[in-house]
Symmetry: C2
C-alpha cells in the first residue's frame, strides 16, 4: 500500500516556481496555467526524503526541535516534475507534482480530502437501504457499500442472515472489532424477570439512542433478529434524529437552541458479572461541532436521563421541557418515523449517534420466543475500514 514519496501520476505538472519572500512561500505554476502557494516552513516540515519521512510507517521522522521557523530557500530547481528546494538549514527537500497538488491549500483539493475523512449524510428515501448478508460477508465491494450506506443514512437493513447466535460478532470482526461496554462485548436481548435494564423485558421501548452516559458512546449498533416474535407485536420503530433536529432548527429555532446548549445529566447504574458501574455524563440532547452548526451526536433516552439536571438555569427548565417534548413528538411524526417488523434472520445497522430506535411491546408468557443479539462498533473503525477498501477497490492512491 505504500507509494513512492515523490512523483506519481499528476494530472498536471509543475512548470515554474517563484518565491514570495514577504509571505515566506513558494508559488508554483502548473502546466494548466493555475498557480498554488506553499509556505516554506510547511514544505520543510513535510520533506518526503527518507531522512525526514519513514517510508514503511508512512510517518514523519523529521524532528520539531530541528525545525527553523526562519529558514529560507537558497536554491530552487524543477526537475522530473519535482520541486527541489535547498534550504538555509543545509537540507534539500523534494516534492513531486501530484503530492503537492493533492495538498494544495486551495478549496478544491481540500474538499476532495474532506471526503476521505467523512462522507456527507443524507436523509432517508422511500425505501430504506438494505444489503444481502452472504454478499456482505463474501464481497469486499458489498462491505464497502454497506459501510458507505451506514455513514450516509445511519440505517441499513441486512437480509438473509443465519438464524443463530454469533452473526453480529462475525460482522463486527469483518469490519475490525467489537466496541466493548459495561454490558459486555455482544449481548442477547431476551425477556427476563426482574431486569437490571429496561431493554431486557417484553415492554414497548420508546425511541431512544443507546448509552448516552458514555463519553465514548458506541458509534454503530448491530441488532440481529435471531428469532422474531411470531404473534402480534415486537415491531421496530426507527426515526432519524438528525432530520428531526434540522426540522426544529428551521421551524422552532429557540427550542433548537435550548437542545443544543443546555447540558443534560445522563446516568446509568448497572451490575454486570458482579461488578457495579456508575456512569454519568453531562451533554446536551443535540451536540454541535466547533462550527456551532453541524450536529455530530444526539443523546436521547428517557430512562437514562438523570433526575439531577445540574446545569440548567432554573428559569430555563420549563422551556427546555417544551423543547424536549417537541423533539419527542417530532421523532414519532410519520414524516420522520418508520415502523416495520424485522423478520427472523435479519439485521439492523444503526448509527447510534444519529438514529433513534424503539420497539412495540409483545405479550409476556412462557411460550413467547424472541431472541435479539446485538453489539457495537466504533466509528473510528468503520471509517478506517471504508478508507482502506476505497483505496484498494477504487484505486485511490492517496495516503
Amino acid at each position: 500500500s505504500s507509494k513512492p514519496s515523490t512523483g506519481g501520476e499528476a494530472t498536471c505538472k509543475i512548470v515554474a516556481a517563484e518565491h514570495l519572500h514577504a509571505d515566506g512561500r513558494v508559488q508554483v505554476e502548473w502546466s494548466s496555467g493555475d498557480r498554488s502557494e506553499y509556505p516554506w516552513v510547511w514544505l520543510r516540515d513535510n520533506c518526503q526524503c527518507p531522512q525526514c519521512f519513514h517510508p514503511v510507517s508512512l510517518s514523519r521522522t523529521f524532528k520539531l526541535k530541528e525545525l527553523d521557523l526562519k529558514l529560507k530557500p537558497t536554491n530552487t530547481l524543477i526537475e522530473d516534475g519535482e520541486l527541489r528546494v535547498s534550504w538555509s538549514d543545509g537540507h534539500e527537500s523534494r516534492h513531486g507534482s501530484s503530492w503537492l497538488q493533492e495538498r494544495a491549500f486551495e478549496k478544491q483539493p481540500r474538499a476532495k480530502r474532506t471526503l476521505v475523512h467523512r462522507v456527507p449524510r443524507q436523509y432517508w428515501e422511500a425505501s430504506l437501504p438494505s444489503v444481502d448478508w452472504t454478499r456482505l460477508l463474501q464481497e469486499d465491494a458489498m462491505l464497502l457499500q454497506w459501510l458507505l450506506l451506514v455513514e450516509q443514512y445511519g440505517l441499513v437493513l441486512v437480509h438473509g442472515v443465519p438464524k443463530h447466535s454469533g452473526c453480529v460478532k462475525l460482522l463486527a470482526e469483518r469490519v475490525a472489532f467489537i466496541k466493548r461496554t459495561h454490558y459486555g462485548r455482544d449481548f442477547s436481548v431476551i425477556a427476563k424477570p426482574n431486569p437490571s435494564n429496561v431493554s431486557y423485558s417484553n415492554n414497548a421501548l420508546a425511541l431512544h439512542l443507546d448509552l448516552p452516559y458514555y463519553f465514548y458512546k458506541p458509534g454503530v449498533q448491530l441488532i440481529h433478529f435471531v428469532h422474531q416474535y411470531e404473534g402480534e407485536g415486537g415491531d421496530s420503530l426507527v426515526s432519524d434524529a438528525l432530520q428531526v433536529a434540522e426540522h426544529m432548527r428551521q421551524h422552532v429555532p429557540h427550542l433548537f437552541h435550548l437542545l443544543t446548549t443546555v447540558p443534560v445529566d445522563w446516568v446509568d447504574h448497572a451490575t454486570e458479572d458482579d461488578r457495579e458501574y456508575f456512569k454519568t455524563l453531562k451533554m446536551p440532547i443535540l451536540c454541535l461541532e466547533e462550527d456551532r452548526q453541524t450536529i455530530w451526536r444526539v443523546n436521547f433516552s428517557q430512562p437514562q436521563r438523570d433526575s439531577f439536571f445540574s446545569e440548567c438555569p432554573l428559569d430555563k427548565v420549563c422551556q427546555w421541557y417544551e423543547a424536549l417534548k417537541t423533539f419527542h413528538d417530532l421523532l414519532y411524526d410519520p414524516r420522520f418515523c418508520r415502523t416495520f417488523k424485522m423478520e427472523s434472520g435479519s439485521l439492523m445497522t444503526l448509527d447510534n449517534l444519529r438514529v433513534t430506535h424503539g420497539r412495540v411491546g409483545y405479550p409476556d408468557g412462557g411460550e413467547v420466543k424472541r431472541h435479539v443479539e446485538g453489539c457495537y462498533i466504533d466509528w473510528d473503525e468503520m471509517l478506517s475500514r471504508r478508507r482502506v477498501l476505497q483505496r484498494r477497490l477504487l484505486h485511490q492512491t492517496e495516503q
Copy 2:
C-alpha cells in the same frame, strides 16, 4: 446499592411549600429557613413512585408522551418530611427532603454533584504521585486513591510490580476492561527490525500523546517496565501538556488561540494481523469544551501529524508553526518536563488526553534487553469505578 426513593437522612426538612403560579414552580421552605424552587414539570417528570421510576434499574419509566407541559398542582401536602403533590393529570408525586435537597437548583448542591462527575485537575508537585502495586491490587481504598490521583494529576507511578507479562491487563481488569485499538488489547514494545510504528524501535521518542487520530482516543495508558535497559539510556520523559497550554494562554494568548482553533489532520496507516487500518481525524492541538475555556483533550504527535493540513488558512500557516514550536519547546522546559528512569518492575499511569511522554534512546545490539508492556483504559470506565468505590467506601449514598 439501591436506596428508598423518598425519605432518607436529610440535613434539614421541608417545613412548608408554596406554589408560584406565574413561574410554574413550587417554593419549598427548609427547617434551616432557606428556600428552594422546583419547576412543576420537572417534579412530575421525576416522580419517584414505583409507577414512574423503576427501583431496580434506578431509571425513569414515566413516559414522555404522558408528560403534560401545562399540568398544575391540585393539592399539596407535607407529610413525614415528604412533599406530596396531586397533579391535574390525576397522579400524586412524592419527593423526600434529602432527595429534593440534593437536586436543588442552587449553586451549592450543584457544585457537590459536579465533583461526582469529575474531580478538579491539579499540577504536579515536587514529588510525583506513586502507589504500591500489591496494595493497589488488594485494597479497594488504594485503588480509589490511585483512580483519584490519575484523575487529578494525570500521572501516577506504581512500584513493586512483578517483572513478568500480564500485569497491565490485570490492573485494567481491576478497573473494568481494556480499551482495544487497532494495535491490539495489550501490546509489547520491544525493539524490532523494520518497525511499522516508530515506537517499536530503540530510538529516542519525542514527547507525544498516543493515537491522536482516534476520535475515541484512549483515555488512560498503562506502561509496565517488565525489564528496563540496564545500560545508559531508556529513560522516560513526561511533561504536563495542560500546564504548558495554560502557560501559553497566559503569556502568548495569540499563539494559544491558534492551537485551540486550527484543526490539524492526524493520520495513521497501520497493518496489524494482516489487516490494514487508515485512520485520519481533524482536531486542534488543544481541544476546548463548549465553554471555550476548559481544555479537555490535547493532541500532539510529530510522526502522526499529516502532511495534509486541510483546514488551516494559507495565511495562518506560518504563525501556527510558531505556536506549535513554542508549545514543543515549553513541553521540554525544565519547569514542566521531568526525566527519570523507570526501574524494572515499575509501571506508569498516564492521562493520554493530557500528559505527554517520551523516551531517551538506548543502544541497539543483540545483547540489549528492554521489555515494556502497555494497554489502555477509557476514562468512562476509570470514572465509573471511582464513583462506585467512593459510594461504597465513603458511604456516599447519592445515586
